[in-house]
């Protein structure tokens, strides 16, 4: 059943999702929104990973590297979200803002 859906559908979805995430992380001013964009991009990659695993691998049962990799990415995303939110909170506490355009202490 699932095989009836061609691979490019998944890839198109993943690409669209990635682009949305990319736009969000680049264009949004709110640091939380930026983090959310990053999450989106990670998940788009996860879709890609799983799709390629399902369609690309000769023996999906024996070789499960695709989903394992996806699992790793999820773990990483969780950790990243945790750290990212912690940083946002810390910045907010010291500077009273989460606007990334104002957080430019490393400016030239």
């Amino acid at each position: 059943m699932i095989n009836d859906i061609p691979l490019n559908y998944f890839l198109s979805l993943a690409a669209a999702l990635f682009c949305i995430g990319l736009f969000g992380s680049l264009a949004r001013k709110n640091a939380i929104a930026v983090l959310m964009g990053i999450e989106l991009m990670l998940n788009a990659v996860n879709i890609n990973l799983v799709a390629f695993w399902r369609y690309g691998s000769p023996d999906p049962i024996l070789n499960q590297a695709g989903i394992v990799f996806a699992l790793f990415v999820i773990t990483l995303a969780a950790a990243e979200a945790a750290i990212g939110l912690a940083l946002v909170i810390a910045i907010y506490r010291s500077r009273d803002t989460v606007n990334v355009e104002e957080i430019n202490l490393l400016k030239w």
Binding site: L26, V100, N104, K107, W108
Partner: protein
């Protein structure tokens, strides 16, 4: 074995000098006696050596008394030693020098006491203010002369030679200090003494430099300065090994001439004779010392000592002996002529010394070694006698000017008698010393010049004619001196009244010297030539060939009459001019009628003005043309140094400064600009680039994404093609 103590001979006077200078300076009489004791001890030892040498006889020339035990300093494989060397002529000198010196010392004891009239009219006798210093200096003088006579090598000889140079300087200028007005010494005389001492020192220095150059060349070519080694056959032949220095001039000729240069200055030969007449400014005993026993004899003795070199040179074709003969012969007549027009009693004697030294050198130059040597010995005695007698006259009268004397024989008969003996000896009148030695020289010149088997020699003929003429003029000026001083009427009553016979300590040395003057000639008469047998028979150190000696023959007899005739002729002319009609008070010298010739003679042919150093009567001194030319030259050199040399140096410095400034500018504006420019360019570029660092994380991410997309596009494009 007295000969082993030869080295002690000069020690006694030198010791006396040290004792007087260091300890007894303030005790006049004691100092004098110490000096005399030093000479007496030296004389005793010298006589011991002399007698021992006489006992050796002619053997002595082959095996001289020689020893060089004191090592002075080593060089290479050999050493320079202090030692002694006594050959026959050296021993004769050992007899002559201390004897004459002792007489001069004894004489000085009284001479250096001046008498003057005090305020209350009484005559006051007073020692010279520097009485002890005088005796110290003449002791040093005598000691160095004795050291010179016994020297075993040329360096030792040269040291003694130089000490004598200093002593002559110090003694000629002995009265070059003020505060002696009551001793007849005024400011003018002080000035003259000062200038004369400097003149003597500088003139002899010219010769010393030549001698030292000769000595250095001798050492280079021969390799030793020891007389016995130097004059061994190998030693002299070493000189011919090297390349001749200047064209045809051989090493022996050059060296002999340089060494002879030392003699020319020390023995006051033309053209360096100018210092000797002015040296008369010293006290009379000093004049006697310089003229008889020490200074000028040292110059002759140098030629005698180096005679093997001269002979060797003439055997190898050199002309050094001819030069010696020429200069000696010329000086003999030149100085004699100048002696004619001097009014200073001592200056006449000074010129006669120059002339007689010319005799000796002429004799040595033509090969009459024995005659020349013998004249050196006899001349020392009669010239010392003449000077001391003249000193006694000066002391008694109080002036040097012969035109203010006259008739003095009545006042001081003993002095007159001794002076007469000395004067007769100087003229060469039988039987006094000068007759025998001068006759010997004339005979040798006559024989070698006109009757030689090897044909006539024009140079020797010139020497003979010159010497014979000089003998005539010598008799003339000595006669003039005698008549002006002792005969006729007193020309200045004040001085005449002041005159008195000398005290016993003055006339006793005169008498002893007169005795020697009378008898010493018989040491070498043509009939019994003992001196010839002793000094000449076996040759000398390094020249063990007997000098040619002729038995008494017709020629010798003729020569005796010729020389006597010449002497009496001169004396007669002198009597005709000065004795027959004595010069009255205030009258000019009859010679002044000669006009320009007299003025030329009186001013010594203007040689002082020409190149020397003219000392005026008032004590001022003026450099001669040559000296002034040298002065101009040095001033020009100074100018050249200041303007050209310094200018060049400054120019180089200025150029360096300009270049340095240029480089500084270049460094500052080019090198630094490059360095700073690279820095500031980097800074500028960095300034643009850093604006990239917006600090906005999203910008960075955008760039990263853009980069990744660019790579992706690139990758895609590549995979399509």
């Amino acid at each position: 074995m007295v000969q082993n103590f030869t080295l002690l001979i000069p020690l006694f006077p030198l010791l006396a000098f040290a004792i007087i200078a260091l300890l007894t300076r303030s005790r006049n009489r004691l100092s004098a006696w110490i000096a005399i004791l030093g000479v007496i001890l030296a004389l005793a030892l010298s006589l011991g050596v002399f007698l021992e040498a006489l006992a050796e006889g002619a053997e002595l020339a082959v095996n001289p008394f020689y020893g060089a035990p004191i090592v002075w300093y080593p060089y290479g494989t050999a050493t320079v030693n202090f030692g002694w060397l006594v050959d026959p002529m050296g021993s004769a000198m050992l007899f002559m020098v201390p004897t004459v010196c002792l007489m001069i010392f004894i004489y000085s004891v009284a001479y250096m006491r001046h008498s003057h009239t005090g305020k209350d009219g009484h005559t006051i006798h007073e020692d010279d203010p520097r009485y002890a210093r005088f005796f110290a200096l003449i002791s040093l003088f005598t000691g160095s002369m004795l050291l010179l006579v016994i020297s075993s090598n040329l360096l030792q000889f040269f040291i003694a030679w130089e000490i004598m140079g200093f002593c002559s300087y110090a003694l000629i200028g002995f009265w070059s200090f003020r505060g002696l007005k009551e001793h007849h010494i005024d400011d003018a005389q002080v000035g003259r003494a000062r200038a004369a001492s400097i003149k003597a020192f500088l003139t002899t220095r010219v010769g010393d430099v030549l001698l030292m150059t000769g000595m250095i060349l001798l050492f280079i070519t021969v390799g030793t300065l020891d007389f016995t080694q130097m004059f061994s056959p190998d030693g002299l032949n070493n000189m011919l090994l090297g390349e001749p220095p200047i064209g045809a001039l051989q090493w022996p000729t050059l060296i002999a001439l340089l060494i002879f240069g030392g003699t020319v200055a020390k023995s006051a030969q033309f053209p360096l004779h100018i210092w000797l007449p002015d040296a008369m400014e010293g006290p009379t005993p000093v004049s006697a010392l310089i003229h008889a026993a020490t200074m000028v004899s040292a110059g002759i003795f140098l030629v005698i000592r180096m005679y093997p070199l001269f002979v060797f040179d003439s055997q190898t074709g050199g002309f050094s002996m001819q030069t010696v003969a020429l200069i000696g012969g010329f000086t003999a007549i030149f100085a004699a002529v100048l002696g004619l027009a001097q009014n200073d009693i001592k200056r006449v004697l000074a010129f006669s010394t120059v002339s007689q030294l010319g005799y000796m050198l002429a004799a040595l130059g033509i090969g009459a070694f024995v005659a020349g040597s013998f004249h050196l010995i006899t001349h020392a005695f009669f010239k010392a006698l003449l000077f001391l007698a003249a000193g006694a006259v000066i002391h008694a009268v109080g002036t040097n000017d012969m035109l203010k004397m006259g008739g003095l024989w009545r006042k001081m008969p003993i002095t007159f008698l001794t002076f007469l003996i000395g004067a007769l000896a100087l003229m060469g009148i039988f039987p006094f010393a000068g007759f025998w030695s001068k006759d010997e020289i004339l005979l040798e010149a006559l024989r070698l010049g006109f009757f030689s088997e090897s044909g006539a020699a024009p140079l020797v003929q010139f020497v003979f004619i010159s010497l014979a003429t000089a003998a005539f003029i010598t008799a003339l000026y000595t006669g003039r001196q005698l008549f002006l001083t002792f005969f006729g009427k007193p020309r200045d009553q004040h001085f005449y009244d002041h005159a008195h016979e000398s005290p016993v300590t003055i006339w006793v040395p005169l008498a002893i010297l007169a005795l020697f003057t009378t008898v010493i000639g018989f040491w070498n008469t043509p009939f019994a030539p003992a001196f010839t047998g002793y000094v000449g028979e076996a040759g000398l150190v390094g020249l063990p060939v007997p000098f040619e000696h002729h038995a008494f023959d017709q020629l010798a007899l003729i020569s005796i009459f010729v020389s006597l005739g010449i002497a009496f002729g001169g004396l007669f002319v002198a009597y005709f001019i000065y004795g027959f009609r004595p010069v009255g008070a205030g009258q000019p010298d009859p010679l002044e009628r000669l006009g320009i010739i007299y003025r030329a003679l009186a001013s010594k042919f203007w040689l002082d003005e020409l190149y020397g150093y003219k000392i005026n009567l008032d004590g001022t001194a003026r450099a001669g043309l040559l000296v002034r030319f040298v002065g101009l030259l040095s001033r020009f050199s100074y100018w050249f140094d200041r303007t050209i040399v310094d200018g060049l140096v400054n120019l180089v410095g200025w150029f360096g400064r300009i270049m340095a400034r240029l480089w500084g500018w270049f460094d500052k504006h080019v090198i630094d600009a490059i360095v700073n420019g690279s820095g500031s360019v980097t800074g500028e570029i960095a300034g643009w680039w850093r604006t990239m660092q917006t600090g906005n994380v999203q910008n960075y991410a955008l760039i990263a994404v853009a980069g990744a997309m660019a790579f992706a596009i690139l990758f895609l494009l590549r995979s399509f093609t």
